[in-house]
């Protein structure tokens, strides 16, 4: 749609500095034990644009792990809605394409027939600058899921960056994005040759993947084999039920609601926090539990991400970031389960 620009690596600190004047800039910062974490940054000194993947995706800035909904005055019955916004508008810098896709996946849940008041406010108040990945990360398979290594979204974000040796190609995708670039003298116009090189980098990045998943007909296949033994075998021998997979998954949206009343018994605060289908209580109803076995909970995770999500929202619930397997204490890999079902179906 619009022009592309170039930002030399030397001027990146200037840009970050000017952005930090308006926004709380959240960028990937290398912290203890080699883990990169998104944190507020005031300058580019700490920034690690070559990061691979973070444990928690930036979804938590838009959909926090624990969020206040409202307070009720118990004597007057008066409700006061919590303001979900942060003090200053936030800008997520160098979010990877898979994580940007994940936010667009969350949009389909929270900005649907019913619109979540809290999510909408945070989403509108957050600027996103995407950094394309020049090579595959350790357990990523975003190329197979259509969410990377270069951003394939056309809207819903503000700027897309592509790193080159000496500079970044910056492509604004919204009015806001144009504003972040326009009028700043450290940006130059990119040429057709620059964009041609971007293509090449993308092709190189695509070739660097070692992990793949064939998604053709996968939802239908999984739904035909709900009783496949792989779920039971994996669940019973390896799943600890720790819920790490769902806590780190950037598209997981389930929440639980909790009321907390102050010690003076005058005010009740209702809050929500991330919940997990891998917890036993999740499918509890009076007199029973619809997913009382670990096998059923494992199947719920795999078939939701790779099958039923497509019917619900028109896209996969898995964006191929590889977090669930990276942070699983026993390394359970949902693509391995899907592949086993594919192999068995092919042999029959």
């Amino acid at each position: 749609m619009s022009e592309a620009y170039l930002l030399s690596r030397k001027r990146l600190p200037d840009w970050i500095k000017s952005l930090a004047e308006i926004y709380t800039v959240l960028g990937p910062v290398p912290l203890r034990r080699g883990q990169t974490v998104f944190e507020p940054i005031a300058s580019a000194d700490l920034l690690n644009p070559n990061y691979c993947s973070t444990m928690l995706s930036p979804r938590l800035f838009i959909y926090p792990g624990c969020q206040k909904l409202f307070t009720v005055n118990r004597s007057t019955g008066q409700y006061v809605t919590a303001d979900p916004r942060t003090q200053r508008p936030q800008l997520i810098f160098a979010i990877h394409p898979c994580d940007m896709h994940a936010i667009s996946v969350l949009d389909r849940t929270f900005l649907a027939k019913y619109e979540d008041y809290y999510y909408r406010k945070r989403r509108d108040d957050t600027v996103t600058i995407v950094l394309n990945c020049n090579k595959a990360c350790d357990s990523g398979f975003c190329d197979s899921m259509g969410t990377g290594p270069f951003l394939r979204l056309k809207q819903g974000f503000d700027v897309a960056l592509t790193a080159r040796e000496k500079d970044f190609i910056a492509e604004p995708a919204s009015e806001n994005g144009e504003r972040l670039i326009g009028g700043r003298d450290f940006f130059e116009r990119a040429t057709a040759a620059d964009l041609g090189e971007k293509e090449e980098i993308e092709q190189r990045a695509k070739r660097s993947f070692t992990k793949h998943l064939d998604t053709d007909g996968l939802p239908q296949l999984l739904m035909r084999h709900l009783d496949h033994t792989v779920y039971r075998r994996t669940a019973d021998s390896r799943c600890l039920g720790c819920t790490n997979c769902t806590m780190v998954c950037p598209t997981c949206y389930c929440y639980n609601v909790q009321d907390r009343t102050g010690y003076d018994l005058m005010t009740t605060t209702r809050q929500r926090y991330w919940d997990s289908c891998q917890e036993l209580h999740f499918a509890q109803v009076h007199g029973g539990n619809f997913r009382s076995s670990r096998e059923a909970r494992m199947r719920q995770f795999v078939t939701h991400k790779l099958a039923t999500w497509v019917e619900q929202y028109g896209c996969f619930g898995c964006i191929g970031c590889g977090r669930c397997m990276t942070w699983c204490p026993t390394g359970i890999d949902l693509t391995e389960m899907a592949k086993e079902i594919q192999r068995d179906a092919a042999e029959k």
């Binding site: 909904l69 409202f70 009720v72 118990r74 019955g77 409700y79 809605t81 667009s104 949009d107 389909r108 849940t109 929270f110 900005l111 649907a112 027939k113 019913y114 619109e115 979540d116 008041y117 809290y118 909408r120 989403r123 509108d124 809207q155 819903g156 739904m223 709900l226 949206y253 389930c254 929440y255 639980n256 609601v257 909790q258 009321d259 009343t261 009740t268 209702r270 929500r272 919940d275 289908c277 999740f282 499918a283 509890q284 109803v285 009076h286 007199g287 619809f290 997913r291 059923a296 199947r299 719920q300 078939t303 939701h304 039923t308 999500w309 019917e311 619900q312």
Partner: protein, 278 residues
């Protein structure tokens, strides 16, 4: 991003006033509730999230919908923290109220058909407004059967209504245990023992059922064996819910949200997923 929808905050409840508290059986009571909302638009089979600040919310369907007096009746079994708190409330009390949610019974599918209604225990509650609709518009339907199964005779809900209804529709009752006499004829056994009373060919019938999932499973299997099309069977499901608006994820069955796509489902449309027990 989808365009902005100027609705208010769907998670923030309104207040509703309790007009009456009626003990129906040992462990079931009804709350007559008047929600303070302008748009009184509730359909049989839909539900509302009702609760108390400090205790939380839970979904409850309507056993009476009365647009004239703008009153709803929730018939509730005593189970869980929220219900414990609600059961202590009496007329004049206030509850938090969000709704209506869900699709409701597809009443339009009943026109010109024989109708089979199968209720189990507290599952009678969301079917009561269906019976009201059927009786008010009696001439639009063929034969109408209500099969209603309970554990013991003391668990029968709305017995005055049952007696009245039997003047215009077939009311057939069963109880797992029949130890004493009852004003109404009750057969001993599960609800399926009553199915020998079906007179009409089942191919022209539509079934609505609500009750324990194991009951719905066997009742549906029974009817299908007797010739009814599975696509003419509608089940109302129960799941725990936190939001009612297809976001908290608790009520999901496969690709469906019980709160938004349901709670009423055409049987084959929900049976295809895992963990339905249908």
């Amino acid at each position: 991003m989808p365009p902005k929808n100027e609705n208010q905050n769907p998670l923030e409840p309104q207040t509703a006033i309790i007009e009456q508290h009626v003990e129906e059986t040992d462990d079931i009571f009804s709350l007559y509730v008047r929600p303070q909302i302008n748009d009184f638009n509730f359909r049989p089979g839909q539900f509302a999230m009702i609760g108390l600040p400090g205790y939380g919310e839970a979904p409850f369907s309507f056993s009476v919908i009365d647009p004239r007096s703008r009153m709803l009746v929730q018939t509730i079994r005593k189970a869980g923290t929220v219900v414990d708190a609600l059961s202590a409330l009496h007329s004049g009390g206030q509850v938090s109220f969000r709704g209506p949610f869900g699709n409701g019974w597809p009443l339009e599918k009943l026109d010109g058909k024989n109708v089979i209604v199968i209720a189990g225990g507290i599952g009678m509650a969301p079917l009561r407004p269906v019976i009201h609709h059927l009786i008010e518009n009696r001439s639009r339907f063929g034969e109408i059967y209500l099969f209603y199964g309970v554990k013991t005779i003391e668990d029968l809900l709305f017995s005055d209504d049952l007696e009245k209804w039997s003047a215009s529709i077939h009311v057939l009752l069963s109880a797992d245990e029949v130890r004493q006499n009852c004003r109404l004829p009750v057969r001993q056994g599960l609800v399926t023992v009553l199915f020998d009373q079906l007179l009409e060919p089942l191919s022209d019938a539509v079934t609505f059922t609500c009750g324990p999932q194991i009951m719905m499973k066997f009742a549906a299997a029974h009817l299908i064996l007797q010739g009814q099309a599975a696509t003419d069977i509608y089940v109302s499901l129960e799941r725990r819910m936190k939001c009612g608006i297809a976001q908290c994820g608790h009520c999901q069955i496969g690709a469906k949200y019980v709160c938004m796509d349901g709670p009423v489902f055409c049987l084959p449309d929900i049976q295809r997923f895992a963990d339905t027990f249908l």
